[in-house]
């Protein structure tokens, strides 16, 4: 049976720079939407950030903007009119508070030019008019309680987690509003922020410290724990959980690792005794794992019914056969990839239909549109 892409026929106009808005637009492009990125003559500032990829654009720009078209409206009435037509015909407009949104003169320009059925998506790092980047948002969110160590300098989450999640939730809000529009025939606006996204995914931590009966369990106490590098081996850290199903498997695993005393410890003989003592167990196992190879430790844990995985660097992530088995990346050219969307539909990974556009690559095509005409597919 032939399949139509999930967002086939949808027109999206994107006035967004940075990560959150473009991430939302990129997911839509991967699902068959026609996403038109509006840029000024300098382009999305993300094009100019480090490190550059083969096209000369910043690597993250390439990852976040593949599958889109790029439109640079010329100064003057022709550009102005083209922009108005694009926005009026859009099913969805994505905007943030960055310089590309400023091109639309001000925020009311967008709302006054969209049609009654348009869904308008807004995002910002930390709410309107508070200048902040990923680092400041992470600091405001309190997430650093889960990293680093008391008395030492703070550490951030390496990933741009607040911005990507703001985009993740923006995509959700947009799809929900578009679904509702199918019945109501009315558009509306959807807003997310980086700080709001981080607060949402911190819910487990937030609820845990809201006056609990007792301050127990790792979600309460993690802030006081030392840094966690995983269980050490000769060649890198491992994240491991011994078998939860069988007490015999636990003993056998300890025997094989040479941790005889640990396996014979009566206070750890049963799963219900071991489950709350993961940190203590991992500390004691470390004495036996640090002089073994990572592969040997992982193999031993898995053979005895537990699960264990290596702490991988990105070259290892890419090289691991699991990434290939689930088609996790989009191949740009040999050796150059971007991450693909995090789901498969009927076992097929959606991929963007083309790479990231060069600045203004589609301006001419889009300027040729007659009044009121909807932009056609790329």
């Amino acid at each position: 049976m032939t399949e139509v892409a999930a967002l086939d026929g949808l027109t999206v106009v994107e006035f967004a720079s940075g990560i959150a808005g473009p991430y939302c637009g990129w997911l839509m492009a991967c699902l068959g939407a026609d996403v038109i990125k509006i840029e000024d003559a300098r382009g999305d500032p993300q094009r100019h950030l480090e490190p550059p990829g083969p096209s000369g654009d910043g690597a993250a720009f390439t990852a976040l903007n593949s599958g889109k078209r790029s439109f640079v409206p010329p100064y003057g009435p022709v550009g102005e009119s083209a922009l108005r037509h694009l926005v009026a015909a859009a099913d969805l407009v994505i905007a943030d508070e960055g310089p590309l949104a400023e091109m639309a003169r001000d925020v009311t320009w967008i709302t006054s030019n969209v049609g009654p059925q348009t869904v308008v998506c807004w995002t910002s790092p930390a709410g309107p008019s508070l200048p902040a980047t990923e680092l400041e948002v992470q600091g405001m969110s309190g997430i650093q309680r889960a990293l680093g160590q008391f008395g030492e300098a703070p550490v951030r989450v390496g990933a741009d987690v607040s911005q990507v999640l703001a985009g993740n939730f923006l995509f959700q809000g947009a799809l929900a509003a578009l679904f509702e529009r199918d019945h109501s025939h009315l558009g509306q606006s959807v807003t997310t922020s980086g700080i709001g996204a981080l607060a949402a995914v911190s819910s487990i931590m937030i609820a845990a410290v809201d006056d609990p009966d007792e301050w127990n369990g790792p979600h309460c106490l993690a802030a006081a724990y030392p840094k966690d590098h995983g269980v050490p081996t000769e060649d890198g850290g491992v994240s491991l959980t011994p078998s939860r199903r069988s007490d015999e498997a636990w003993v056998a695993m300890c025997e094989e690792l040479g941790a005889h005393e640990l396996g014979a410890d009566p206070s750890l003989a049963h799963e219900y005794q071991r489950a709350p003592r993961t940190r203590q167990i991992n500390r004691r196992l470390a004495e036996f794992t640090y002089q073994r190879s990572r592969a040997a430790v992982i193999d031993c844990v898995i053979r005895h019914g537990g699960f264990a995985v290596p702490v991988q660097t990105w070259d290892e992530v890419v090289a691991h056969p699991q990434a290939g088995a689930i088609d996790a990346f989009t191949e740009l050219e040999p050796g150059r990839r971007t991450l693909a969307p995090p789901w498969r539909i009927n076992n097929l990974r959606p991929h963007p239909s083309r790479g990231a556009p060069s600045l203004g690559a589609d301006t001419e095509d889009l300027l040729g549109l007659a009044d009121g005409e909807r932009p056609g597919p790329a």
């Binding site: 490190p51 949402a200 959980t241 699991q322 498969r344």
Partner: protein, 403 residues
């Protein structure tokens, strides 16, 4: 169709953007349930099925007024029934619910639902419109398909850990926050919403899968591009980033830290104004962003000396005046306790807690101008069993003409 068994109507919140969408939540622990919880706060009618011995997330501490907090935040706004899916009756009742649902959410090991005859193919035979959304550990194919995973395993395997930590130190885990679990859950929610649009265009259901591996990778799309697109290793940088400089925490004279970032030339010039160092603008090592990224350590040392000279409050005024992105550190526990009022407090909301009183949670992450999105109380296991009585009867006891 009178006389047919129906999905029982629910009272209360039903005006979100997903009003009328019926979700059967067969998941457990955090990822599946929190993903389905997001659908519930968008207005979907979510019925969660728990096994007779309960969702094991109930064992995760702490508790508030006797109820486990992590279970609660993962199950807000749902109805709950208990079914033994290993029994023939339980399985039949579940299949009946599946027949009436729009979406199924599950997060068991690949193959587990097939053994229960509740997989996509089996459900499709009775409900060709079903949108079947699964989250696994590492994906449902490949050498890791049957390896289990919790939040830290997903972090480790996906590269997420490799970019956290002090500069030059070993990579470190995000400790016990469940952040990667909930990020994966957000990807599962996306999958469900994508499924609704896919079904609208194709006129039939579909199967959508995600995994903790994919969810953890998704959060790294920008930083991982350094390796994937530009061939550059991704390493821990403390509070710095690889894309622009400066962006770092600096220790002030009063030993408090302030985060300061200059993501573009304009803010870099403003920063030099705020710290009264216009001479830095003339230094070749710091002229462009590319220069500053290449000379990050040198730049950090210069700025660290400036920030150490005055207290944080002074810097707050200076950086605000010059519109330089900056921020202070929130202690999450203090913000939740209300002993400090910070930006984070605007995004914490209270929900009714089942044993009484309220529980603080991260607010739903979207605001709609017209539709409503809201969090409501979490259900006790089996609390809504009675509403589903007809559906749960064995076949030979079904009311006349109901099937």
């Amino acid at each position: 169709m009178s006389g047919m068994v129906r999905w029982p109507a629910r009272a209360g919140f039903d005006d979100g953007p997903l009003a009328g969408v019926k979700v059967l939540d067969l998941s457990a622990l955090a990822t599946g349930p929190w993903g389905a919880m997001l659908l519930a706060s968008l207005g979907a009618d979510v019925v969660k099925v728990d096994p007779p011995d309960g969702d094991h997330i109930r064992l995760i501490l702490p508790k508030k007024k006797g109820d486990p907090t992590t279970y609660t935040i993962c199950n807000l706004g749902k109805r709950n029934i208990v079914l033994d899916l290993k029994s023939a009756e339980g399985k039949a009742a579940c299949l009946r619910l599946a027949e009436l649902a729009d979406i199924i959410v599950e997060n068991h090991r690949p193959g587990a639902m097939t053994r229960l005859n509740l997989d996509f193919e089996s459900v499709s035979q009775v409900n060709p419109g079903i949108i079947y959304c699964s989250s696994s550990s590492f994906g449902n194919e490949g050498p890791m398909a049957q390896v289990g995973s919790t939040d830290p395993h997903g972090q480790a395997f996906s590269g997420f850990v490799s970019m956290n930590g002090a500069y030059g130190a070993g990579p470190e885990f995000l400790r016990y926050g469940g952040v990667v679990d909930l990020t994966t859950a957000a990807c599962l929610t996306q999958a469900c919403l994508v499924g609704l649009h896919w079904r609208a265009r194709n006129g039939r259901g579909c199967q959508i899968t995600t995994s903790q591996f994919e969810g953890a990778m998704s959060a790294q799309i920008s930083r991982s591009s350094n390796y994937l697109v530009a061939g550059q290793d991704v390493v821990p940088l403390g509070t710095a980033t690889s894309t622009y400089a400066p962006s770092e925490a600096f220790e002030c004279r009063d030993h408090r830290y302030i985060n300061v970032s200059a993501p573009n030339q304009q803010t870099w010039e403003a920063l030099c104004g705020a710290i009264e160092r216009p001479d830095l603008l003339e230094m070749p090592a710091f002229r462009t962003n590319r220069d500053r990224v290449a000379n990050r350590s040198k730049l950090s040392a210069v700025l660290a000396e400036e920030f150490a000279a005055y207290d944080l409050t002074r810097w707050r005024y200076r950086l605000s005046r010059y519109q330089v992105p900056h921020g202070e550190y929130t202690v999450l526990d203090d913000a939740v306790a209300g002993v400090s009022r910070t930006e984070l407090n605007r995004y914490i909301t209270s929900v009714p807690h089942l044993p009484g009183g309220e529980l603080k949670v991260g607010a739903p992450p979207w605001k709609f101008s017209r539709s409503k999105a809201a969090l409501t109380v979490s259900a006790r296991p089996g609390q809504h069993q009675g509403q589903f009585t007809d559906l749960l009867l064995p076949d030979d006891q079904m009311p006349e003409g109901s099937r």
